[in-house]
Amino acid sequence: MDVKNIKFDPESHIIELAKQRPEGISNKDLKENMPQLDLPELTGVINKLLKGGVLELFKSNEELLYKYKDPSKKTTAKGSDNEEKVVYRIIEEAGNKGIWIRDIRFKSNLNMTQLNKVLKSLEIKKFIKAVKSVTASKKKVYMLFDLEPDSSVTGGAWYQDQDFESEFVDVLSQQCHRYLVERLDDAKKQGGSPVMVRNRSYATAAEVHKFIQDLGISKISLSVSDIESILYTVVLDNNAERTTAANGTFLYKATHNFIFPPGLVKTCCGTCLVANKCAHTGSVNPTSCTYLTDWLSGS
């Protein structure tokens, strides 16, 4: 290709070259590829590109490298300095899971005080926000301002400001159980063959979901999968059993235990918390045990 005959555009040429080499181009490369440009001219062009944000300057092994930067990703607002740009990009990469300040420090190579300043200024400008994670209460993660935090960070529907709402869960679990029991009773009342009774007493999570929503006990809207996890606790409490339907969804049904509370726990010894320390002699012994006395004098 005869370079001298066509009109030479150094800017587009350099961009082309940088695009071909994502690892960056050095001054030496530029000189080899564009011998016709003299140094001041080249400096002028590169400075222009750097200012426009098309190229980025890196330094490796005492050598300057220019890298191409995709203008479509260029979202950093004007008025930010280079540190802010770097930090912003790291946070952007983390997505809605957020990133911990320690990891930002490692990635950006900024020192603590500087990073704090940068983060604060980004926060003030409402580019990013800090979200407290539920898994570790003291850990703050940063993410872009307009992102909705991931459920692994907020804990989903069961968390309010990193506090697990156990009462809310308990109430829901009770109501789910109640629904299943009512369903079983209904099925029994309607009568019919055992298989029919069984099939009628099965409920899907979607049905329970509808029931819970109609009750209106929840201020926030719950998804069907939220109800599934609540129903799983009912199953774990042995108040319901879960089977898989033909189409792969789960069916729930209220059940009974196999046995009544065993004789062991009908006595105070079976539920005694100091039973390990109890012996024939010593301060905890059956003859002077106050728990036994209370239990025996009770009705």
Binding site: L236, T255, I259, G263, L264
Partner: protein, 513 residues
């Protein structure tokens, strides 16, 4: 074998046979397989007393013996499980009474009291007792029929006969175990009049076959479980299945041989009051078969489908249920929830527990470590190789070992029993004076009544016990009743835990023979 276990054994023997026997028994508990002189040195009792105690213990089947190297000496061991069975005697009696009536109850009671005795003597004893206590004593032939029934249905068994050696080797003739030798009622009647008559079955002794009772108790538990889980009709079907199971399976096997459903249906047809169970017979089978517990499983399609009962698995599940109930009562719902979660997903991380059980992190951690402390859980720790910098993260995984938990619960039961027996003895000791007085008054009253005293005289004597004393007596009565009932209930738990390993139970049975 634990310290508490040894203590209950000696307490039970003490209660029933007195101090000397308790001493011998607890020595044998500690050092099984000891010869006579060894026992003498360990207990420091006179030889005659030890011999007498061993006789009594052997008679009740509590002590077994086998020849030493020197065949003229015997080594004695205590069968501690049999001792514990003594707590269950009331249950056996109650069961027999309900099932077969009063005569059978007295037959079993006599055998339990004496350990073993020949059939003809047994019949006469029962007759004597019944004619003393009720107005219309049953005839000898009725008692004999009842006895024959008990023997053929294996509630009584023949004890092994001894070979003529210094230390007899006991030989069990399996075929003769449940066959009654002919007893002529005529001889019995002549014996009643003339004690010198020789009874024909003088050397054939009968004793109670506990396994048979346990088998019935086990079936009852299974049927009750099905009734609670499904309904009474399902329970009825299972009951018949169990009955049919014995036709072709050893009673203590883990899994029954396939039982044709048609057979059970035929029996149901003959029963008048089982129309619901019959009408929906197939459906009940489907429901039970498809249930998560999978206790009844289809074995084949031949002749209208045949089913197997998984007894061992049934009991494993019942024991799981029992442990869950214990935790539920002791540590409440949340802990039971965590326990079940760990059961379903063994080797689980604390974080997952908290997520799946939906319990706040702090509580979940507290409860799971509490269960660990109480030995319900075990921990498997995975250590990473220590890195130079940064925090070292270990994984803590929870899991359950059922056998360990069962053993621990058994220990707990033993401890509870021990506590209750000790407490009962203590209460009795505290109030010895009043109890003695009450007994004296009662004997006086009995004597006066038989002499035909006037009501005023009787009232006079009754007033010897003052109202405050009466209150105390009532109170003691209440306490004793409570402790006794609970003792029986704890024994139920022991039975359940014990029976879990049907095969272990069976081997124990054969070794004790």
């Amino acid at each position: 074998m634990s310290v508490v276990y040894g203590k209950i054994v000696s307490l039970i023997i003490m209660e029933r046979f007195g101090l000397v026997l308790a001493k011998v028994a607890s020595f044998l508990f500690k050092t099984p397989d000891s010869p006579l002189l060894f026992i003498k040195r360990g207990t420091e009792l006179p030889l005659s007393k030890i011999k007498e105690s061993l006789c009594i213990l052997i008679k009740h089947g509590l002590v077994t013996f086998r020849p030493n190297k020197n065949e003229n000496l015997a080594n004695y061991s205590l069968d501690s499980n049999k001792v514990l069975l003594m707590l269950r005697y009331p249950k056996y009696l109650n069961f027999v009474k309900k099932q077969f009536g009063d005569e059978s109850e007295i037959i079993i009671e006599e055998v339990l009291l004496r350990g073993y005795l020949p059939a003809s003597e047994l019949i006469l004893k029962v007759y004597d007792r019944m004619s003393k206590n009720c107005n219309k004593p049953p005839s000898l032939s009725i008692i004999k029929d009842k006895l024959v029934y008990l023997i053929t249905s294996k509630y009584l068994k023949r004890i092994p006969s001894a070979e003529n050696k210094p230390v007899p080797n006991l030989v069990q003739n399996e075929t003769m175990m449940h066959v009654l030798p002919p007893i002529e009622l005529k001889t019995l009647i002549t014996y009643q009049n003339d004690q010198r008559t020789v009874l024909p079955d003088k050397n054939i002794y009968w004793t109670v076959n506990f396994e048979r009772f346990h088998q019935d108790m086990r079936d009852k538990i299974v049927v009750a479980a099905f009734e609670r889980k499904f309904d009474e009709h399902a329970a009825e079907i299972i009951k018949l299945f169990l009955r049919q199971m014995y036709v072709r399976t050893e009673p203590w096997s883990d899994i029954s041989n396939p039982i044709p459903a048609m057979e059970v249906k035929d029996i149901l047809k003959r029963q008048a009051n089982s129309s619901v169970a019959l009408a929906f017979f197939d459906q009940y089978l489907t429901v039970m078969e498809q249930d998560n517990s999978r206790l009844l499983r289809k074995a084949g399609e031949a002749s209208g489908g045949s089913y197997q009962i998984h007894l061992k698995e049934t009991f494993t599940q019942l024991v799981w249920n029992l442990i869950e109930q214990v935790i539920l009562e002791k540590h409440d719902t949340k802990a039971a929830r965590i326990f079940r979660l760990v059961k379903l997903k063994p080797y689980i991380e604390p974080d997952r527990i908290q997520q799946l059980a939906m319990i706040p992190a702090k509580d979940a951690k507290k409860l799971s470590y509490q269960l660990y402390e109480e030995n319900f859980f075990r921990i498997q720790e995975l250590r990473k190789t220590p890195t130079v910098s940064g925090p070292v993260k270990n994984f803590t995984l929870f899991h359950i070992e059922l056998d360990n938990v069962v053993r621990m619960l058994l220990e707990m039961c033993y401890k509870t029993l021990f506590n209750h027996i000790t407490r009962r003895n203590h209460e009795r000791e505290l109030n010895t004076r009043i109890i003695d007085k009450k007994q004296r008054v009662d004997t006086i009253l009995m004597g006066m009544k038989s002499q035909g005293a006037t009501p005023e005289q009787i009232a006079d004597i009754e007033e010897l016990i003052t109202p405050p004393e009466r209150v105390v007596l009532d109170n003691i009565d209440k306490i004793m009743k409570k402790l006794n009932t609970v003792e029986l209930e704890v024994d139920d738990t022991i039975f359940m835990l014990f029976i879990k390993d049907c095969d272990e139970y069976a081997t124990q049975r054969t070794s004790s023979r």
